[in-house]
């Protein structure tokens, strides 16, 4: 698949995630569409490609929005690598796959974010992260995860067919 197209999709996604999608919050929780795309890419594509896109997306997102650089990149790389290990055992067509991966990834994302934010000396209020907001975040992101995963799957399979014929 053409790398430029995917890099373009990831770049446009970051622009949208940091602008328009920030308006559509539910109780202060926002959509992490970059994380969703990295999950979809990691499920469908080869591990080396997934890591490359995770590195690019993480670094760009960190540079554009982060207070410090490396946090999103670290988590995206970890998730991309984790999915690539279990990639072959997954039922890619099942609707449960993106939902379960989405839930697990959000929990991993929040855990490592809190861990590093705390480790670097920033203030962390643990109570907030075990509140209703975490459930809202999981539910809100899971719905969109299903949508993005399905769209990316269709897009990927169509590109594969085009390459074959």
């Amino acid at each position: 698949m053409n790398r430029i197209i995917i890099l373009g999709i990831l770049t446009i996604n970051i622009i949208l995630q940091t602008t328009i999608l920030n308006i559509t919050t539910i109780n202060g929780t926002t959509l992490n569409t970059s994380l969703m795309l990295i999950i979809a890419i990691s499920v469908y594509m080869k591990p080396r490609e997934s890591l490359l896109y995770a590195l690019y997306t993480g670094l760009l997102l960190d540079t554009v929005t982060g207070v410090f650089i490396g946090l999103n990149t670290f988590i995206f790389l970890l998730i991309a690598y984790g999915i690539s290990i279990i990639q072959e055992e997954m039922v890619k067509e099942s609707y449960l796959t993106p939902i379960l991966l989405g839930i697990a990834s959000i929990l991993i994302y929040n855990f490592f974010s809190l861990f590093f934010v705390y480790l670097l000396g920033y203030t962390v209020r643990l109570a907030h992260y075990f509140s209703l907001n975490t459930f809202i975040e999981i539910g809100y992101n899971s719905v969109f995860m299903l949508l993005i995963y399905t769209l990316f799957g269709k897009f990927y399979n169509r590109r594969i067919k085009e390459v074959k014929y």
Partner: protein, 278 residues
């Protein structure tokens, strides 16, 4: 290439990258005097695109806001007229002390004294992107060093204090709001300037803080303004006290404050650029 060898190679590359990211986090965390060349470069490319995306959104938001608030405008107009009459009375009173102030200004000039709170012309800017992480309340504005914005410049809205600049590029800057967990502002109570304390951002929209002197009295509904200690100039509205209790140590009076600024709805800000003191 055999699969186990390829898998091991990928595992090694991932581990190296993860270690590099931890090092990056260590280097780039904390207060930095300047953003790196790469960050500045990326910011200069991405910010105009974000601005272009947000311009129609802001236009629509402004129109919707105007329509939604049309019914309230008439009532507000009457209230403002009444306030105008009251203010005219106040102006008459304050003119009496104005001549005294003029004398003090003349004295300040004669002694070549420069006020520590001297600020340049305020700069107006739009918010063009927000960090979507829960643990930081940071947003990007469409003005930067080229407009006179520096690190620690003070950011306001028409309602009150917003925060401070933590990073500045050529035509963009990043603002850490006072509702961020890592922000703290010293305050005094508008009703009684002797009551002083400090408020910090929390994970929620509200601010939490305590009084310096537990013997002092604070009430629900008290308005808090900046005390002038630290980087924020004196007298900027922070918010209103919504709850009073004891802090965890049961020694200090803890206060919960609703910020005057609604950080979810804010679109436009004012930045006070620090004036060149030389």
């Amino acid at each position: 290439m055999s699969k186990p060898f390829l898998n091991r190679k990928i595992a090694i590359i991932t581990t190296v990258l993860l270690i590099l990211m931890v090092i990056f986090m260590g280097i780039t965390s904390g207060d930095r005097e300047q953003v790196s060349v790469v960050e500045r470069w990326v910011g200069n490319i991405v910010t105009p695109i974000q601005r272009a995306v947000m311009t129609p959104i802001h236009a629509v938001q402004d129109r919707v806001y105007d329509i939604a608030n049309f019914a309230q405008l008439n009532q507000q107009n009457q209230e403002l007229q009444q306030k105008l009459i009251d203010k005219e009375q106040e102006i008459i009173q304050s003119r009496l002390s104005e001549s005294e102030l003029e004398e003090l200004r003349g004295l300040q000039e004669a002694l070549n004294y420069v006020s520590a709170e001297a600020h340049g012309e305020p700069i107006s800017a739009r918010i063009i992107s927000k960090s979507n992480a829960d643990w930081f309340n940071v947003f990007t504005i469409n003005a930067g060093e080229n407009h006179g914005i520096n690190l620690d410049s003070v950011v306001l809205s028409e309602r009150g204090l917003v925060g401070r600049i933590i990073e500045a590029g050529d035509n963009w800057a990043r603002v850490m709001s006072i509702s961020d967990s890592n922000s703290s502002v010293s305050f005094k109570v508008l009703r009684d300037a002797n009551v002083e304390g400090i408020v910090q951002g929390s994970a929620t929209e509200e601010l939490e803080g305590y009084l310096f002197d537990p013997r002092m009295e604070i009430q629900k509904g008290d308005q808090l303004v900046t005390s002038g200690q630290g980087i924020f100039p004196e007298g900027i509205l922070i918010g209103e006290v919504t709850e009073i209790g004891k802090s965890r140590e049961q020694l200090l009076d803890a206060v919960t404050v609703q910020p005057a600024v609604d950080f979810q709805k804010i679109n436009r800000v004012l930045i006070l650029g620090l004036e060149d003191m030389n």
